[in-house]
C-alpha cells in the first residue's frame, strides 16, 4: 500500500446561490503529500469535502485511482479514502478505543465482530499518534489536542490509500503539530492536507496548492510557490522568504507594520 492517485478535474462547488470553489484542478501522485493553503474562506474545506464525498460538485470530477469518487458506493470509497474532518461528535460515553474502532467499519460486513487483526490495527494506530495510553479513557473527557490525535488514529485504522485532513494541527501544541505532520509524512498513503501554517506546510509537503476566493492561484513545490509577491496578493501581508540554512525548506517571516510592534525596552 503506497497510496493512490487523486485527480480533481475542473471542480466547481456551490452552496445555494453562493459559489465556494470555481473550476479547480488538483492532482496528487501516489505517496505524495499535498498541502492546501490559503486564507480563511478561500474554499479549502469545501474542496476537501468534495474529495471525501460530502459536498457534490456542481461541475467537474473527483477521481481516485482513476474512478469517479461520486459514482461508487460510499462504503466502497471509504475503503480507499479516509478523512479527518472539523466536526464535533456527540457525547455518548465511547472510549477512545471504541472511537478508533469505528475506522474499521468500511472493511466490515453487517454482523462481523472485531477480529484480532482489527484490534492490532487499532492499537498500532493509537501508538503511532502517541495515544496508546489513552485507549481506555472516555473520548468525551479528552483535551482538544488529544481528541485530534485520536481522530487521526481513527483515520489510520481505516488503512486508507488516500488520507484527507482539514487542518489537523488545529488545537495542537507545537510538539504534537510536528509529530502529526511527521506521521503523515511517513504514511504509506497519498495525503491531502489543508494547513494554516505556511512554514509547516513548506517543510512537510511535496507540493502546495494555494487557494484564494475559490480558485487555485499557484501550485508547485513550496520553494516555487511561496514568494513575497504571492503572499502579498493572497494574504495582503508583507513577508520575507528565505531558504532555511539547516532544513533547506523555504522559511516565511512575516513583517508586521512597524507601529504594531511593541517598543523594545
Amino acid at each position: 500500500m503506497t497510496g493512490t492517485e487523486l485527480a480533481v478535474e475542473g471542480v466547481t462547488l456551490t452552496a445555494g446561490a453562493h459559489r465556494l470553489v470555481r473550476d479547480v484542478s488538483l492532482t496528487a501522485r501516489p505517496g505524495e503529500m499535498i498541502g492546501l493553503v490559503g486564507p480563511n474562506g478561500s474554499g479549502k474545506s469545501s474542496l476537501l469535502r468534495a474529495v471525501y464525498r460530502v459536498l457534490r460538485p456542481e461541475a467537474g470530477q473527483v477521481r481516485v485511482d482513476g474512478a469517479d469518487a461520486w459514482s461508487m458506493p460510499v462504503r466502497h470509497l471509504a475503503r480507499t479514502v479516509a478523512a479527518v474532518v472539523q466536526e464535533a461528535g456527540a457525547d455518548f460515553d465511547l472510549t477512545v478505543r471504541e472511537v478508533v474502532a469505528m475506522g474499521r467499519t468500511p472493511h466490515k460486513r453487517l454482523l462481523d465482530g472485531d477480529t484480532a487483526e482489527d484490534r492490532l490495527l487499532i492499537e498500532s494506530a493509537l501508538t503511532s499518534v502517541d495515544a496508546a495510553e489513552l485507549a481506555d479513557r472516555p473520548f468525551d473527557r479528552l483535551s482538544g489536542g488529544e481528541r485530534q490525535r485520536v481522530l487521526i488514529a481513527r483515520a489510520l485504522a481505516q488503512r486508507p490509500a488516500l488520507l484527507v485532513l482539514d487542518e489537523p494541527t488545529n488545537h495542537l501544541d507545537i510538539r504534537h503539530q510536528l509529530d502529526v505532520l511527521g506521521i503523515l509524512r511517513r504514511m504509506p498513503a497519498t495525503v491531502l492536507v489543508a494547513l494554516h501554517d505556511l512554514n509547516l506546510a513548506a517543510h512537510y509537503c511535496d507540493r502546495l496548492y494555494v487557494l484564494c476566493d475559490g480558485e487555485v492561484v499557484a501550485a508547485g513545490p513550496p520553494a516555487e510557490v511561496l514568494t513575497p509577491a504571492l503572499l502579498n496578493d493572497v494574504y495582503g501581508v508583507t513577508a520575507e522568504v528565505t531558504v532555511h540554512a539547516r532544513t533547506g525548506a523555504p522559511q516565511v517571516t512575516f513583517l508586521p507594520d512597524e507601529a504594531a510592534r511593541p517598543a523594545l525596552a
Binding site: V85, A90, S128
Partner: protein, 368 residues
Amino acid sequence: MTAPATATPTARRPTAPPEQPRARTFALTLVVLAVLLVASMTAGMAVGSVRVPPGEVWGIVTHALGGDWSEPTWSRARETIVLDVRAPRVLLGAVTGAGLAVVGTAMQALVRNPLAEPYLLGVSSGASLGAVAVIVFGVSLFGPLSLSVAAFAGALLTLLLVYTTARSGGRITSVRLVLSGVAFASVLTAVMDVLLLTSDRGNEARAVLAWTLGGLGGVQWATLWLPGAALALGIGVLLVQARSLNLLVAGEEAATTMGLDVARFRARTFVLLSLVTGVLVAAAGPIGFVGLMLPHIVRLFVGGDHRRVLPTAALGGAVFLIWADIAARTVAAPMEIPVGVLTALCGGPFFLWLMRRDARRKTDRGVA
C-alpha cells in the same frame, strides 16, 4: 524531533490487546438482567388484588406450556387470573418497555442528541392522534390493524416535522429539538382533545382518554402478537446496523467518510422507529421517558457501543416497565394509576438531571 512512539503503523508490531474489560461487564449485565426479567415477570403475575405465590405462578405457567409434571393444586379462578389477565399484561409491559428503550437508543444516535426520545419529541403524540382519529371517525380501512397503521403514520409524520424544524444549517441543538418536540406534542394533543370532546361517542371517549395516559390493562392474547412482532423487527434490524449507529455518533460528515450513506440510513431508520413506536402506542398508549432513561443508565454500565447498548437497554426497559406497572396496580389499590403517569414521575427529574449534567460537561470542556 519525534519520539520512537511515532514510528509508522506497520513498522511496530504490538501484540493484539485482549478483549476489552467492558465485554465482560456486558456479558455479566446481560445475565443479571435476564435473571431479573424472569423474576420481574414472576412478580408481575403474582402481585395484585389476588395474591398468587410465585411457586404457584410457576406451576400454572409450566402447566400451560405443556410441562405436565405437576398435578394442578390451584383453583381454576387463579389459573384464569394468572394466564388470561396477568400474563398478557406482563408480556405487553416487557415488550413495550424493551421497544421504547430500543427506539430511544436509536433515536438519540440518529439525531445525535442525548435528550431524544419518542415521547419528548412528540412522536408518541403523533401516534396517539393517528389512533384516536381512527377511533373517533370509525375508519377501518385496514381491518383490525387500522389503529396501528394510523398510529404509525402519525408517528412518522411527526418525527419528520420535528426533525426538519429542529435542524438548521446541518446542526440540531438540544434546545431546538426539545422545543419543537414539545410544541408539536402540544398541538397534536390539543387536536386530539378536540376530537375526543366533540365526539358523539361519549363512553368511548372516556376509555380513550384513559388510554392516552398510557396503560397496560385490558390486553388480550389475541392482540399481543403485533407489538411482539414489531419489537422483534426493531431489535433485529437495529442490531444488524449497530455499527452504523455508532458512526452517526461521530458526526454526519465523519460517518460518511467511514462509509455510511447517512441520508438513506436515516430515512430508513426513521420509518422503522415510527413503525415500532406506532404499534407500541396503539397497544399501550403513549408511555413517556422509558426511551430517555434506559439508554443513559445502560451506557453507564456497558459504554456507548450500540452493539452492547441495544440488547442491554431492551432487557432493562422490559424489567423497568414491568415494575412500573406493578407499582401502578398496587400503590393506590384497588384504584389503578396509568403506568405512563408513573414513568413521567421518574422521567421528569431524570430529564432535568441529564440537562444539568450536559451543561456541566460542556463548561468543563470550555465549550460555550
